[in-house]
């Protein structure tokens, strides 16, 4: 067995257990809410249409968006309820809420359809022998609708298991950890392990529910009890497993976050190793959504992660104008300090957006700056990551240079560089610290008009981070130059090293420039 596969399989039980727990719990919650709602909808015709419309509307919200929306909503709810109870905005709670909402539609719709599908002649006969409405529901409508209702539960189960892979970006461990990290670090084995785990889990839940469905149809309660016990046992194992495997510890636990791309995994691994050497227990929250990481830090659920000054400038401060690196960094840190977050300091390199083109094209057309490109942009296509075209920087660049591409295409950042070298697009919005710029023979164009803001990587500490964190991470401040970061990223993205291996190499390259005064 390859070491890569062995490493992935080692992490599988915990992810599988967490995935099972969130799936089953939210499925049960979804059923517990939707079946009574379905009965209400059947009984009171007036609420039926609006109810199905609202639940159907929830379903149209893309899964990832629904999960990501839960975080700011819970932060707001937490602010209101703060004196009474702490509301965690990351992790299991937002996932359970979103998955429960997602599980509702098939169960609700099938409950209504199942009950309304019962032969009216049977209902009249049941009334004719003297059953009350309630008895008709209990003895006739629900038992006869049960197979249809259970079919809805099975549909919901498969949806929920699939959508639970999206729990990773909001900080809940799931099989999505393999998929998100694997896609970003080009680790196909990890992606396959995540997919196989999710498929296996979906099949297992579906099989258990199929047995229950058959038991109901053939009136074999023992089968249903058996399948229910098997499901419950697997959830119990899922709950118990992480508690068992986690060594009991009274050391402070520091939560280290990362966003979903290679550089972030490498830096989080580096931070982890520095903390562990200072006797700190570390918990990782990897692949967090961009705004979710900052929300988590502000809410005290993350203790440390690396963000970029330009991102915070635009998204947190809402600024659209371009300013110099030190100005941006100072403004961002001042604002974060007032929010309770400490800027430990810049890491030393910048991971800016920059337009890159194929080296051969650059030579042919004589492109070296954005000014050169703007003359030839008409009729050409540009690619960028999923968020860039929505960001104010893009409007600023286009305005500054009069850039007018024929087409804008978005790619996952994993595939962006390939899109350029495979001539899917003529230019891409690359990251300056990315090792794949050189590996794919791309040339980064200069920005003589300064339209793209600075993106200094900066270490952020949450309000509850213990003081040892600042001590442990001090060697990191100002000590990673862009060449070192690019090489570390390249080792993962091009050579197939793990983020841990790249972090170990990067640690040997730390070179503090001027010590902080």
């Amino acid at each position: 067995m390859s070491t890569n596969l062995a490493t992935q399989l080692q992490m599988l039980p915990e992810a599988l257990a967490a995935h099972l727990v969130i799936s089953v719990v939210s499925l049960l919650l979804g059923v517990a809410i939707s079946v009574p709602l379905g009965l209400i909808a059947v009984r009171y015709r007036r609420v039926r249409g609006p109810l199905l419309a609202v639940v159907g509307l929830i379903q149209t919200v893309p899964g990832l968006a629904l999960l990501a929306l839960m975080v700011p909503i819970l932060v707001a709810v937490g602010d209101v309820l703060e004196p009474l109870v702490a509301v965690p905005a990351l992790g299991m709670l937002p996932v359970l809420i979103a998955l429960t909402l997602y599980a509702m539609l098939p169960v609700l719709r099938n409950t209504v359809a199942g009950i309304e599908g019962v032969d009216p002649a049977l209902i009249e006969a049941a009334h004719a022998i003297g059953m009350t409405d309630r008895q008709v529901l209990r003895f006739v409508q629900v038992p006869l609708a049960a197979p249809v209702m259970l079919a809805g539960v099975r549909t919901a189960a498969v949806w929920v298991v699939g959508m639970a892979t999206l729990a990773t970006p909001v900080g809940q461990t799931s099989l999505g950890n393999f998929i998100f990290a694997g896609l970003q670090t080009r680790n196909v084995v990890a992606v396959l392990v995540g997919c196989a785990g999710a498929a296996g889990l979906a099949l297992w839940m579906d099989a258990a529910l199929a047995v229950i469905e058959r038991a109901v149809a053939r009136r074999r309660p023992a089968w249903a009890v058996g399948a229910g016990v098997a499901l419950a046992l697997s959830v119990a194992v899922g709950v118990a497993l992480p508690r068992w495997s986690a060594p009991p510890s009274d050391r402070p636990v520091v939560v280290v976050g990362s966003k979903p791309f290679t550089e972030q995994y490498v830096l989080a691994s580096l931070i982890e190793s520095l903390l562990v050497d200072h006797g700190v227990a570390v918990q990782r929250r990897d692949s967090l959504g961009s705004s979710i990481a900052l929300d988590g830090l502000l809410a005290g659920e993350l203790d440390v992660y690396v963000d970029y000054s330009g991102t915070l400038w635009a998204n947190h401060l809402g600024r659209t104008e371009v300013a110099s690196g030190p100005v941006v960094l100072e403004a961002v840190c001042a604002r974060l300090r007032s929010d309770g977050v400490d800027c430990l300091g810049p890491v030393g390199f910048e991971n800016a957006y920059a337009l890159a083109v194929r080296e051969a094209d650059a030579v042919d057309h004589g492109w070296s700056s954005l000014e050169d490109l703007s003359a030839d942009a008409a009729g050409r296509a540009v690619g960028a990551d999923i968020e860039f075209f929505q960001r104010p920087e893009w409007a600023a660049v286009r305005q500054a240079y009069g850039l007018d591409f024929a087409r804008e295409r978005t790619f996952d950042s994993t595939f962006l560089y390939e899109a350029a070298s495979a001539e899917e697009v003529d230019a891409i919005v690359a990251y300056t610290s990315d090792g794949r710029v050189a590996a794919h023979h791309l040339r980064v164009l200069t920005d003589p008009r300064g339209a793209l803001p600075p993106y200094d990587a900066v270490l952020l500490l949450g309000p509850d981070a213990p003081s040892v964190v600042a001590t442990a991470l001090a060697p990191l401040v100002g000590s990673v130059d862009v060449a070192a970061m690019r090489e570390a990223n390249r080792r993962v993205d091009v050579d197939g090293a793990t983020p841990q291996q790249a972090a170990a190499w990067l640690r040997t390259q730390l070179s503090p420039r001027t010590p902080a005064p």
């Binding site: 009249e124 022998i129 003297g130 059953m131 038992p143 006869l144």
Partner: protein, 253 residues
């Protein structure tokens, strides 16, 4: 035992009267057949007796009491009903279907058991063979027998039959008709049967009410109707059985 006083029914305000101010009285121990074409209002009139349908106007009494003075459920539990569709619960066994009303009334289990077994014997479906079967395992005639047993399970003194023999083959129908009339006589039931089978009505009923367009055209004993139909429509209904009888007479002569 059962009286309908000036009873009318329209399904929606301003709609047509499906039952138009009818008066009917059924004496204790009597078997009344209500006959008429589809849409004549006969089934609606029947369903007003056990409050499955509420009259728009008029009063229905059972045993001298206005049916609206008791809860519809307790009224229906005291009246045995066999509907056209039978309506056996498909997820319940024959036994559980017959035991349904006694269970709803909270009878003790041994009393229920004795009653169900006796009734299944009465309708010719011995419990040893049929109790645990599901309705899907029965023939149409057997299902009707279970329906009759269920209707009588709670010792009802009144039996309402809505076209219960319509879908059966002639031999089975004949057997079942004889069986139910026998039970009616033995148990001293008061029976109202809705049908469009005039031959069956002539054979089974003590009196026949002929309905058309929501009204009772003619009510009387089979002999009354045969000797003086009064209406062309009644005469037409009697025509078919008469011709059958004449053909049979001719063949035997």
């Amino acid at each position: 035992m059962i009286r309908l006083h000036g009873v009318s029914k329209r399904w929606e305000p301003g709609g047509p009267l499906v039952v138009d101010a009818i008066d009917l009285a059924v004496a204790e121990g009597e078997w009344l057949a209500v006959i008429g074409a589809s849409g004549s209002g006969k089934t609606t009139a029947l369903k007003m007796i056990n409050a499955l349908v509420a009259p728009t106007a008029g009063i229905v009494t059972v045993g001298g009491r206005d049916v609206t003075s008791v809860s519809p459920e307790s009224l229906r539990r005291s009246i045995g009903t066999v509907l056209q569709s039978v309506g056996l619960l498909p997820h319940w066994t024959v036994y559980d279907n017959v035991a349904a009303v006694p269970h709803l009334l909270g009878w003790a289990e041994d009393r229920v058991d004795a009653r169900v077994r006796a009734l299944l014997d009465d309708v010719g479906l011995p419990a040893e063979t049929f109790a645990e079967r599901g309705p899907a395992d029965l023939s149409g005639g057997q299902r009707q027998r279970v329906g009759v047993a269920r209707a009588l399970a709670a010792e009802s003194r009144i039996l309402l039959l809505d076209e219960p023999f319509g879908a059966l083959d002639p031999v089975t129908r004949d057997q079942l008709q004889g069986l139910v009339r026998g039970l009616h006589d033995r148990l001293g039931l008061t029976t109202v049967m809705v049908t469009h089978d005039m031959a069956g009505a002539l054979r089974l009923a003590d009196r026949i009410a002929v309905m058309s367009a929501g009204r009772v055209l003619r009510i009387g004993t089979p002999r009354d109707l045969l000797t003086d139909p009064e209406h062309a429509e009644v005469a037409a209904l009697l025509d078919a059985p008469r011709r059958h009888a004449a053909v049979l007479d001719g063949l035997l002569r």
